[in-house]
Symmetry: C2
Subunit: 311 residues, 2 copies
């Protein structure tokens, strides 16, 4: 069985660690969001690709929730001291990823080739693809306390300002002109099943599906989603703030409804069991119920198996 | 007394530490070579500006000869592991300098303003100016073992390939169209004396003098050089390889003759005392003789005082 998993950052990384315990790691191709990529200090940073890479390589920091384990922050401490932009945390080892990516981009290599090189350097046997080699950037139209509207890139909204601003609209700049990265449409066409990782449906999975050709390649086979919302709140991140912007209720039902007419099955947490009938009835999806808290790889495997059992 | 010092990297840094023991630090303005700046990993690296900054801030590594003291190399070790370009050593603290410089350049700030910000962050009271805010890059026309000619940027020639290639020609790309950084011509016009630090006359002081308007602003006051060549060899660097390319003999006399019609005085090492008469006779410069080995700040002060005593 061949699978394609659409992935955001940390939530996806945790889930994929469980998935590759349930199936052979090379049987799943991961297509990763690049909408929250950012250029900072001249470096091209791809937070979701890096999160998935670090999680699959088992070098992610499980407590901090981002970046690499056993990390030091010498460079960033000095950036702060020099009066530079230190709002986006970059560890010293993590910096190396951005340095080589940026150099390779400057040499003309596409992001997909670079992502694959970094995957191999981390000895990951699961193919990783950025959603696109073209720049797609998630911008937030925010309304501040004085009622003034202004656009911010996603990372500035979330990491820079802690998601405190009121978001009125979310745009995926460049998506209309982007094409799927080489291999994305082929992997989807070749897959028996598509998995939607427990990532933010609006700003993690949303940008992937916004690239023309990706969503269109999916129909005709099972699509199984996993809810990133448990008991009406996201386990991490800002889905509670952004789902309403997309007209979604902040619940496992809302998460499922983000994939209306796309997902054929959905995994929800046992705390949300009461929503199963509604998801089945109103959205026509098969529902699996399990404990979706991925506190370790074994727990993540349980969630992955619940998704696979919907097939 | 107001001074302007034209400076390359480490040799200049050592000399300047001595100079600011001999005169008030704010009485000298340092104009630094940017011809060997390099863009790597997307970062703008200004090796000579950084050397001078680190030496004046007393954070330079005195044994390694480049970079900062008490440095770690976590990021660069990882870059090597990931298959990236690790030939140009960048410490973790040092990286911060390049990160903030690159970010500020991306925000539209000129190099001169950035250099000044970094100077202030390092609590240096000596004004530092890049020779130009415009890109001037030193390129080497090399001839390889097969007789093939190819151009390399200076850092690739020197750091990348250890100065092993035969250099046929040296070009300062962009110099013709460059203008001196704001304050450079004014500082020279305002100075009683110009000092030429013991830097490579060809690839350190040469690029500074190649910026139209800088050399022209100098005449009319004492110009004192310090030989970077002792007993027919450079104390550091590659002057022995590059002086012949510029038609200069590799000696204190050759170093002095690089500043013919410019320098009015020249400091040479006591080991080269026999050359004093020739420099005075053929080049018309006053000569001071001292031990020019700058093994510590006190030794550097001795060299600086020898230069000042030529006034």
């Amino acid at each position: 069985m061949k699978l394609v998993a659409l992935a955001g950052g940390v939530g996806a990384g945790k889930f994929l660690r469980g998935l590759v315990r349930a199936i052979p790691p090379s049987d799943v191709t991961v297509v990763v969001n690049t909408g929250d990529d950012i250029e900072l200090h001249g470096l091209h940073i791809s937070p979701d690709i890096d999160s998935v890479t670090y999680w699959l390589a088992d070098v992610a920091d499980r407590e901090r929730g981002w970046g690499r384990a056993k990390e030091t922050f010498t460079a960033m401490d000095k950036v702060r001291e020099l009066g530079g932009q230190a709002w986006f945390g970059l560890g010293d080892q993590d910096l190396a990823t951005h340095l080589v990516r940026t150099q390779w981009l400057a040499e003309g290599k596409p992001l997909s080739e670079i992502t694959d090189r970094l995957r191999r350097a981390h000895e990951i046997s699961t193919p990783l693809l950025p959603m696109s080699d073209d720049p797609v950037r998630t911008w937030m139209l925010e309304v501040d306390d004085e009622g003034m509207e202004h656009y911010q890139p996603f990372q500035m909204y979330w990491v820079g300002h802690g998601g405190r601003c009121h978001v009125k609209e979310i745009r995926f700049e460049g998506a209309d002109d982007a094409t799927p990265a080489p291999g994305v449409v082929e992997a989807i066409a070749d897959a028996d099943t598509i998995l939607l990782c427990p990532s933010n449906p609006v700003v993690s999975i949303g940008p992937i599906l916004s690239v023309p050709g990706i969503r269109e390649a999916i129909p005709g086979r099972p699509v199984i989603g996993v809810s990133p919302i448990v008991a009406g709140a996201p386990l991490a991140g800002m889905a509670d703030k952004l789902m309403p912007v997309a007209g979604l209720e902040v619940s496992a039902f809302g998460a499922a409804s983000a994939y209306k007419d796309l997902a054929t099955g959905f995994v929800i947490d046992e705390r949300d069991e009461a929503l199963a009938t509604r998801i089945e009835g109103e959205l026509g999806m098969r529902v699996a119920v399990t404990d979706t808290i991925m506190s370790d790889d074994a727990a993540a495997e349980r969630v992955a198996r619940a998704a696979l059992e919907l097939l």
